[in-house]
């Protein structure tokens, strides 16, 4: 096991302290809690919180800032934070206009965030939540995981929230983004967990996984290593079908690296995606290529399509000031 770290027990805390120190102008770590908040939160408005297990950096702390999230709660690596941590985050950003909680669809996250919601309600804080389930690799949609598409939901809901919209409106906007976003991933190699130095799954050197999650778990099927072109075809077809995308429609695209994938490979993949979209008359209005929702040092990527109307496009393009999204 090789990692740049001190004691693995403290890795999340030290990461958050490093994050805070790197952006003293606008980020603050809550004392005693693994929560990063937007420190100059002055306006009385609906505020947004998200989070989950760590290991997905820059998610979620990298998305805290004006125009996006107001707080991010960081659990241990790949492990949802407990409700006490989440509650503390909610309390820290509550401006009595309501707090929207953006949850990725994993049993652990959903249970812990919902417990926090219950606790917040008991403390008289007005909250509501949405659950992101963009991963088309998993069949049934109630079971679908939340993966990289979640970042678009953060951005769009965040852009709505600073317009002073009501909790109901911000939630509706977030849900609209969720309804229009789909993702699917592939992995070439597992990640290495800091706590035990073991690969998260076993895979031979000539195989890859299709339809994996972002927690180092294997995918839904294994194949030979495909070419960039074949991968792009598989992913684009899945996303297009699931979204029911038609000629003339507009989308934003994210090619998301899982942590150890050279940007070169992400750009090669995007080149294929762009050609496929052009061939089927789908217009890409904005492109994001990079590490947005990672899985430690997993080798692989995911592709996300967000179908955009003018409203979603404007929200996506609205100004934002965070460490890792713009």
């Amino acid at each position: 096991m090789k990692k740049v770290m001190n004691d693995p027990q403290n890795i999340v805390q030290e990461m958050l302290l490093g994050m805070e120190a790197s952006a003293p102008g606008f980020l603050k770590k809550l004392n005693g809690f693994d929560v990063i908040v937007n420190k100059d939160l002055k306006e009385e408005r609906v505020t947004l919180i998200s989070g989950g297990g760590s290991g997905h950096e820059p998610a979620h702390g990298g998305y805290v800032g004006k125009g996006m999230l107001d707080a991010a709660v960081a659990g241990p690596v790949f492990t949802s934070p407990g409700p006490d941590q989440i509650l503390e985050g909610i309390k820290a950003i509550d401006k009595s206009k309501g707090v929207l909680i953006i949850i990725k669809n994993y049993s652990g996250d959903v249970m812990n965030f919902q417990m926090a919601v219950e606790m917040a309600e008991m403390e008289g804080i007005n909250t509501d939540f949405v659950i992101v389930n963009d991963d088309v690799a998993v069949g049934e949609s109630s079971q679908r995981r939340g993966i990289a598409g979640t970042v678009f939901v953060h951005k769009i809901a965040g852009a709505r929230a600073i317009t002073g919209a009501s909790l109901k409106e911000v939630k509706e906007t977030a849900q609209k983004a969720i309804n229009n976003v789909r993702s699917k991933g592939i992995a070439l190699d597992p990640c290495i967990l800091p706590h035990n130095g073991q690969p998260s799954f076993q895979i031979s050197s000539d195989k890859m996984e299709i339809g994996l999650g972002i927690h180092g778990e294997p995918g839904i099927k294994q194949t030979e290593v495909l070419t960039a072109r074949e991968i792009a075809e598989d992913l684009v077809i899945s996303l297009k079908e699931d979204l029911g995308l038609e000629t003339g429609e507009k989308i934003a695209v994210m090619v998301n690296g899982l942590g150890a994938t050279p940007l070169m490979e992400l750009q090669v993949l995007f080149n294929e995606v762009a050609m496929l979209c052009q061939n089927s008359g789908i217009k890409i209005i904005k492109t994001y290529i990079g590490n947005y929702m990672t899985s430690l040092n997993m080798a692989g990527l995911s592709l996300t399509f967000l179908r955009t109307d003018q409203d979603l496009a404007d929200l996506l393009n609205a100004p934002v000031c965070t460490l890792s999204f713009r």
Partner: protein, 211 residues
């Protein structure tokens, strides 16, 4: 102490044994979960039970109900993930049932088990056969409903542990319907569910205190 009464001291010892057992099995649980999940179950539980252990001294003068509720909150907070929410809820529910008690009898224990199962089911929405910790716990609860006296003897616990073991083993051939392993669909078949396994170890650790 009488054989049919479980004083607080024994409960606290049981919690310590749970921690010891989980620490011992941490690597095994991680290995198991590498097959069908995210490999953190053992690490998470170990973190949580270690915290429980270090908090125990400060809890000793509380009633059993309070102790278990506090254990539930610690697990929720420190284990995190699905297991933290679920085991946390289980202890919380059990604790609520045992409010004010300084010792337990077999009925108390049965009720605590029933509530714990209820907590897990209501929190996670899974049912028997979904390849989760419920597949270990529910058969045990069913068994205790008919045989609650077994908690009073070492031999009884051997039987109870055997039921837990069978429940755990039953998950091997199941396709997961809840939790992370469910994403694998058919690929989840052929592997034990880590939560079902940890649940077996916890029940085993309970029984080992009975002499």
């Amino acid at each position: 102490m009488e054989n049919n009464v479980f004083p607080k001291k024994l409960i606290i010892e049981t919690l310590r044994r749970m921690k010891t057992e989980i620490s011992k099995q941490k690597g095994y649980l991680t290995e198991l979960e590498a097959k069908i999940g995210d490999s953190d179950h053992g690490i998470n539980l170990d973190r949580g039970f270690s915290e429980v252990e270090s908090e125990l001294p400060s809890l000793e003068n509380k009633c059993i109900g309070e102790i278990l509720k506090k254990v539930g909150l610690i697990l929720m907070s420190k284990v995190g993930g699905a297991a933290g929410a679920l085991y946390g809820t289980a202890f919380l529910f059990a604790g609520k049932e045992l409010e004010g008690k300084e010792s337990l009898n077999k009925d108390d224990i049965l009720q605590a088990f029933i509530k714990a199962l209820e907590g897990i089911k209501s929190r996670g929405g899974a049912v028997l056969g979904d390849k989760t910790m419920i597949d270990t716990l529910e058969p045990v609860v069913k068994y205790l409903e008919d045989n609650s006296g077994y908690v009073e003897t070492r031999e009884g616990w051997v039987r109870i542990t055997g039921v837990a073991w069978q429940g755990m083993e039953s998950t091997r051939d199941l396709v997961a319907k809840k939790g992370r392993a469910s994403y694998l669909g058919e690929r989840s078949r052929g592997h034990l569910d880590p939560g079902a396994v940890s649940c077996y170890f916890l029940i085993k650790a309970m029984g080992e205190g009975k002499d």
